[in-house]
């Protein structure tokens, strides 16, 4: 059992030195180096970007209700889905769990007083905001119509939209995730509490550590690529220009060398959150802790050798395709192990269906569907048919929205008492979780059918025969929108009206629950000494 020197203060006693009551002036927020406040800065900014991206998604679904492209012109539609892609990938999904829950909880979970480089942490947020401003400027200047993939030679030679501004924006925000990754790696390596060995780290810390490694090893290649695209458009230095002998496939190799590990940046922290929630609400230690750690590191390493499965039909050689397909099948095995371990954690437990647990169990369903359809896409012959179709759209939305965003919501609810010192309304939270599950399946399952039936991606208008499935999908999008609006309402309501939360409302194990909620500025009165494993629920 983790023995902690100081005794947690009695719930409800408003002790003055918790990190929120230190002051609400602009200076105390915008110049803070406290990892907990920086987590809130990120939480607010990614929520703003999330609603930009979701608005674009809703408009796309509205347009696609009718086969003819009548709500928007083709130009506007292309700019909408590009905005949706860019904002969701770089400004919401990549920072969502690491920069908010990760920033807040990792120092607490490793028993440290703050991140290794607090000023660098604040700098990361300012770089993120600067990147956001550039991307917003790109949107105001007419938006980008290249999709979030920026394939050349369209993005460099043929598109007449604000590609340069967007490329600069994403180039800058890339450095924010590099510096966050750097901070996580150094913190986990050098600032663990005494007694906290690597194999006693909570899986949330492992997951964010692995994510940080991918951020460090993959994002610089994206920076180089955007630099090359910017130079080609801005200064006419043609690198991928077919007329000069440049190879559009070289762009795709460099792009997907970053972008496939990037999807693991999005899903690995979600896996960490789910391990914590399922273990806590089934009162069981996580099944096969070592297996989970090995799977996380296997996903991190294997994630770098599978990028070619995005290019099976793009003119890549057949032999390279076979090699990448083989690795893509193998990268699915660690995810399968994790799903088995989550399910087995429920065995002989005491399961309670609180809101975070509903999110976790819907993650289990959605991530498994997403993961299995990944196998369809790894199979060469099938990918030839369903590549660039709605099957792919459904696959990655099941994993991104069904996996990463559901886990983010689950984590937000699970640690809300620790973040704010307030409890949220259980009834509303459970309704929102169920609405999310229904909305998600209703939105994206029809898209699997559309994909195999032959509906290509990024189509402004489509043959009339596909109309019924699109209408279903758009209906689902409506339910999904409600599923996301509800938490915004009752969570902000709980900030004022929620009943004060005790230090450990869920009686969970883990260092972050051994201190007050909300925690004091320096997290712990004294650095805790760790004597046991992270999930000792069974004693």
């Amino acid at each position: 059992m983790t023995s902690v020197a100081e005794s947690p203060t009695v719930a409800g006693e408003a002790c003055t030195d918790d990190y929120l009551s230190g002051g609400w002036s602009i200076r105390s927020w915008l110049l803070t180096v406290d990892h907990k406040r920086i987590a809130w800065l990120y939480a607010v900014s990614i929520t703003v970007f999330f609603f930009f991206g979701s608005a674009a998604a809703l408009l796309i679904r509205l347009e696609l209700i009718t086969p003819a492209g009548d709500l928007f012109s083709a130009e506007e539609y292309n700019r909408l889905f590009s905005l949706h892609g860019i904002v969701m990938v770089w400004f919401f999904l990549i920072p969502s769990i690491p920069a908010t829950l990760g920033n807040f909880l990792i120092p607490l979970m490793v028993g440290a007083r703050d991140m290794a480089f607090p000023k660098l942490n604040l700098l990361s947020w300012y770089i993120y905001s600067l990147g956001g401003l550039f991307t917003l400027a790109a949107v105001i200047a007419g938006g980008v119509d290249t999709g979030w993939t920026f394939y050349t030679p369209y993005s460099t030679l043929f598109s007449n939209s604000a590609v340069l501004a967007a490329a600069v924006g994403i180039f800058i925000v890339g450095f924010s995730s590099i510096l966050t990754g750097l901070n996580f790696v150094v913190t986990v390596h050098t600032m663990r509490a005494p007694g906290l060995t690597w194999m006693r780290l909570p899986l949330f810390v492992w997951a964010n550590y692995a994510t940080a490694l991918i951020m460090i090893l993959a994002t610089p290649v994206l920076a180089t690529l955007l630099l090359l695209v910017g130079l080609e458009r801005g200064l006419g230095i043609g690198i991928f220009d077919p007329a000069l002998g440049g190879d559009p496939l070289l762009f795709q190799h460099l792009f997907w060398f970053y972008s496939h590990p990037a999807v693991y940046i999005m899903i690995l922290p979600a896996m960490g959150v789910i391990s914590e929630i399922i273990s806590c609400f089934s009162r069981n230690p996580v099944f096969g802790y070592t297996g989970m750690v090995i799977s996380i590191m296997a996903i991190t390493l294997f994630g770098f050798v599978v990028w070619g499965h995005h290019m099976f039909v793009s003119g890549q050689s057949m032999y390279a395709g076979i090699l990448f397909s083989f690795f893509s099948f193998l990268v699915a095995v660690p995810s399968a192990i994790k799903t088995l371990n989550w399910t087995a954690t429920l065995f002989r437990g005491r399961i309670s269906f609180t809101a975070p647990m509903i999110y976790a169990l819907s993650f289990l369903e959605l991530f498994t569907v997403g993961g299995l359809t990944g196998i369809f896409l790894a199979a060469l012959a099938l990918d030839v048919h369903v590549h660039d179709s709605y099957f792919v759209t459904a696959h990655f939305h099941y994993i991104m929205v069904g996996g990463a965003v559901t886990a983010y919501m689950g984590g937000l609810h699970f640690w809300w008492p620790k973040l704010t010192g307030r409890m949220f309304s259980r009834a509303w939270a459970s309704t929102a979780a169920v609405a999310l599950l229904i909305g998600l399946n209703l939105t994206f399952y029809p898209q699997f059918l559309l994909g195999y039936a032959g509906m290509p991606r990024r189509y402004h208008s489509y043959p009339d025969d596909f109309a019924i499935l699109h209408v279903l999908s758009s209906l689902g999008a409506g339910v999904l929108a409600i599923g996301y609006l509800l938490p915004l309402i009752y969570l902000s309501w709980s900030l004022r009206r929620g009943e004060p939360a005790p230090p450990n409302p869920w009686d969970a194990r883990g260092l972050e629950w051994q201190t007050m909620s909300p925690p004091p500025v320096h997290n712990f009165k004294e650095t805790p000494v760790v004597t046991g494993g992270p999930y000792e629920y069974r004693e």
Binding site: L217, D247, L250, H253, F304, Q316, S317, M318, A320, F324
Partner: protein, 86 residues
């Protein structure tokens, strides 16, 4: 890490530079390229081991140094797997 080893490393670097330039005069292209590349790797290793004090650094820093080169090799190898067999 002291003055003597710093200056010795500097001289070794200049010697390697001279060697790689001398190699440029050779006729056989394959030999020339292998000499150039091995001189480059030797120079880079020298700078990292002596000037960047990897010799006296811990296990972790050496791993980080090697990881960078490993990942570039990974990117080049698998991209070449496509380009060469297209």
């Amino acid at each position: 890490m002291n003055y003597r080893s710093a200056i010795l490393c500097w001289l070794a670097l200049l010697a390697l530079l001279a060697a790689t330039l001398a190699a440029a005069m050779l006729g056989n292209t394959a030999l020339r390229y292998t000499l150039h590349l091995s001189c480059a790797v030797a120079m880079a290793a020298l700078v990292m081991i002596v000037f960047m004090r990897l010799r006296s650094a811990g296990q972790m820093l050496r791993l980080v140094a090697v990881a960078g080169l490993l990942w570039i090799a990974l990117l080049i190898m698998l991209s070449m797997a496509d380009v060469l067999t297209r």
